[in-house]
């Protein structure tokens, strides 16, 4: 615990522009909150190299129980390697992983469901047989697996596929089967690597809803993707991986709060056009203005230090009709880029 605290403090120090004392307090608080939550998975300084290439450089993560956790980062950041270690496909060179408080052991595969990025099924095997086989490999009894399969086949409306071969099914159909294979043994931890790549929007939504439903019934979920926008709305926690290191992790809400820059996006309906801004620019920092003459919509961004929002709104409301006013929250992507840039700047 102490080590974790130390790590966060060291990491936050390097961010520079934010008050370190505030951050210390904030981190301590969130840590205290976290310690109340049970963790399903803890990675402690996990390192893995392939030949001369180091894929993971001391990755430490705490994944709270019954949460949706996003492991985000560009291609080659080490996400898949980390997930393979959690699934005991490969083993770390040093460091350890704890599942449910215990060091990871082979029996845990029955409690973990994994949908890898490179996924597929036996092409010439019948759907029913195939899913039964994979479920049994995960430790499920045949009769129980059959019962649950019936439930899932009905739920996803694919009941008549039992005797068909995968090569006769469309890609979207095969994706549904893969999803069932992943969740059939009712794992406590579900891991999806690039979950929605290759899905059409309808299937993606079906699967998304099913995942959320599983979370409600108590499962913990890890999403790993380089397309951060695709899972951002779903994740409560995120960890950003870059070149084998965790450069940022924690509650997504908190991270976003840290990274917002008091920037607001404003939309006004006014006949005055850009001239209207000249008066405001004396008091506020305004950027990216644009004016649509047809709809008479004036759009711009404004930086509003704490406590100046009502002042600002008061000034403009007397001169124009406010059609939009929203705080600009940075996306995970933006946060990632910003953090990497800061890190590079520090080095």
């Amino acid at each position: 615990m102490f080590l974790g605290l130390f790590r966060i403090v060291v990491k936050t120090r390097s961010r520079g522009d934010i008050n370190p004392y505030f951050l210390f307090l904030f981190n301590w608080l969130s840590l205290a909150l976290m310690s109340n939550e049970k963790t399903i998975l803890v990675a402690d300084r996990v390192t893995k190299s392939f030949g001369t290439h180091t894929a993971l450089k001391g990755v430490s993560l705490n994944i709270p129980e019954n949460s949706i956790y996003g492991v985000l980062g560009p291609n080659g950041a080490g996400k898949t390697t980390f997930l393979r270690i959690v699934n005991q496909i490969t083993y770390p060179d040093s460091g350890s992983v704890f599942f449910n408080g215990e060091p990871l052991k082979p029996e845990h595969v029955a409690l973990i469901g994994y949908l890898p990025e490179e996924r597929g099924l036996y092409k010439s095997m019948k759907v029913g047989e195939q899913v039964l086989y994979l479920a049994q490999l995960r430790g499920l009894q045949k009769q129980e697996a059959k019962k649950r399969l019936k439930y899932w086949f009905e739920r996803l409306e694919i009941g008549d596929w039992w005797n068909r071969k995968i090569q006769e099914l469309s890609k979207g159909m095969a994706q549904k089967i893969q999803f069932i294979v992943t969740v059939l043994h009712q794992p406590k931890l579900l891991i999806f690597d690039e979950p929605f790549s290759g899905f059409d929007p309808i299937n993606a939504n079906i699967i998304k809803d099913e995942i959320l439903h599983l979370k409600e019934t108590g499962a913990s979920i890890i999403f790993s993707t380089h397309r951060m926008e695709s899972v951002e709305e779903l994740c409560e926690y995120i960890a950003l991986l870059h070149e084998g290191e965790v450069i940022l992790d924690g509650k997504l809400f908190d991270i976003k709060r840290q990274y917002k820059r008091n920037l607001y996006s404003v939309q006004l309906e006014t006949g005055k056009g850009l001239k209207m801004l000249s008066g405001l620019e004396e008091h506020f920092k305004i950027s990216d203005p644009s004016f649509d003459e047809v709809t008479e919509q004036l759009e711009f961004s404004v930086k509003l230090p704490k406590g100046s929002v009502s002042d600002f709104l008061g000034r403009i409301s007397s001169e124009a009709a406010i059609t939009g006013f929203v705080e600009t929250i940075p996306s995970a992507n933006e946060i990632f880029i910003q953090t990497v840039q800061q890190k590079m700047g520090n080095e």
Binding site: N87, P116, E118, L121, S124, Y133, L134, L137
Partner: protein, 444 residues
């Protein structure tokens, strides 16, 4: 353990239910029996095709020497000149014309005789004609020397040197070759099995890679278990197929023999009449020699041979099929396997050749001993040596033991290496690996 059984079951069923596998299993015995029937039929057709040879004999010799037999018929021309005889032979479509000119001296008559044919004559026909001449010439010479035919036959009886071991045990000629052939049969079986079913293992691994199911499976089971299950499942399917082949081929053979009434011994007899074989060898071996051969074959340590076959078969097959599995894991598609397959086929082919050239000549020579100890060739070469027995006069016990120990050690080493390559390879996509890269994977 339970998971391993599951994998074996799936691999077995996947293989056995495969359409091409089923077709091959059914078709092969039919093809084999069909081939035998075809050969028997063709031999019969060939036999019934009688050659007609005309003889223009102007001399006083060779009056009744050319006798029509099952393959050749002789027609004698009387009072024709050579040109007319040639013409009519050609026009009648006969095989050839034998011209024996007039003369008083047998030797000079024989030397001036000519055999005319459309194309170059068949060597068997020529041999037949030549033997008539030489028989006559020999008889005349013997008569000139005052030796009777009966006396000559007594002189001419062949001589066989008796051979024995120092312990006084009588040896039989050719028995080493026969024994090595029996062992060679077993060795050949191992090689065929490795090449066919090792290839199956490899393709099955490639299929799992290209269908991208591999990572889903190895997140549930250890890669080593998957590899082992695959090898065992595939080989069980192979054993099933072999058993079906042997049983159905023999049953089919029996049916064919009964229904078509093909006499197999006739087939054997005609095949023995290959060119170059001296006619005198047609003398059938006496019952006594046959019995000695039988008792010698009976002396082959069948129990040792069968047990060793099973041991060498299992170890040899596991070694090679795990290499095949590693190759399958390393590549993305079958076309990339060529560069890796050649080096593993080489020792197998080498073993067969070493066996047939070296073990036949000298079952206990340095080459035979060396390659029966070397683990990649020992399953085949040792099995060729074993019918000579173990211990005195055969394979020394220490050699057999060393060979098996070396094989077991290699087996562990190779399977360990192959499993490492397999474990890394199955998760590598889109790369055509080099040997250097495979070596790097060993350290991952």
């Amino acid at each position: 353990m339970n998971k391993l059984a599951l994998i074996i079951k799936r691999e077995y069923l996947a293989k056995v239910r495969n359409k091409s596998f089923v077709i091959m299993t059914i078709l092969s015995p039919i093809l084999i029996v069909g081939m035998v029937v075809l050969i028997a039929y063709l031999t019969k057709v060939n036999d019934s095709d009688k050659r007609i040879i005309t003889v223009l004999n102007e001399s006083a010799f060779f009056q009744d020497d050319f006798l029509t037999n099952s393959q050749t018929a002789y027609i004698e021309f009387k009072s024709l000149d050579l040109a007319a005889a040639k013409d009519s032979t050609l026009n009648l479509g006969y095989y050839g014309l034998l011209h024996i000119p007039a003369g008083t001296d047998l030797q000079s008559v024989a030397e001036k005789a000519y055999f005319y044919t459309k194309d170059a004559p068949n060597s068997l026909v020529l041999e037949q004609l030549e033997s008539v001449f030489s028989e006559r010439i020999r008889a005349k010479r013997l008569k000139d020397l005052g030796v009777s035919n009966r006396e000559f036959k007594e002189i001419g009886s062949g001589f066989d040197l008796h051979t024995a071991t120092f312990e006084g045990e009588e040896n039989l000629k050719g028995i080493n070759e026969i024994k090595a052939l029996i062992g060679g049969g077993f060795g050949y079986l191992i090689m065929m099995f490795i090449v066919i079913y090792g290839g199956f293992v490899m393709r099955s691994v490639i299929e799992e890679k290209t269908s991208r199911i591999i990572e889903i499976i190895i997140s549930a089971v250890k890669p080593f278990h998957l590899m082992l299950g695959k090898i065992i499942g595939t080989s069980l399917a192979g054993v099933t197929q072999f058993a079906i082949w042997i049983i159905s081929a023999s049953a089919l053979m029996l049916v064919v023999l009964v229904v078509f009434g093909i006499d197999l011994s006739a087939l054997e007899a005609s095949s023995q009449l290959g060119p170059g074989l001296p006619v005198t060898q047609n003398v059938s071996p006496t019952a006594e020699t046959l019995q000695t051969y039988a008792s010698e074959l009976y002396k082959i340590p069948w129990a040792v041979l069968v047990v060793s076959f099973i041991v060498y078969f299992i170890l040899g097959y596991l070694i090679y099929s795990s290499i095949y599995a590693a190759i399958g894991a390393a590549v993305d598609n079958e076309t990339d396997t060529q560069q890796f397959i050649l080096p593993i086929i080489m020792p197998l082919v080498l073993a067969i050749y070493i066996g047939f050239f070296s073990v036949f000549n000298n079952p206990n020579g340095p080459i035979a001993v060396g390659f029966s100890l070397f683990p990649l060739t020992s399953p085949i070469v040792m099995l060729m040596r074993l019918p000579a027995g173990i211990g005195e006069g055969g394979v020394p016990i220490w050699e057999l033991v060393t060979s098996i120990v070396l094989l077991v050690v290699t087996f562990i080493g190779i399977v360990w290496l192959a499993a490492k390559i397999y474990r890394v390879g199955i998760l590598m996509y889109g790369k055509k690996p080099t040997y250097k890269e495979l070596f790097k994977w060993l350290r991952y």
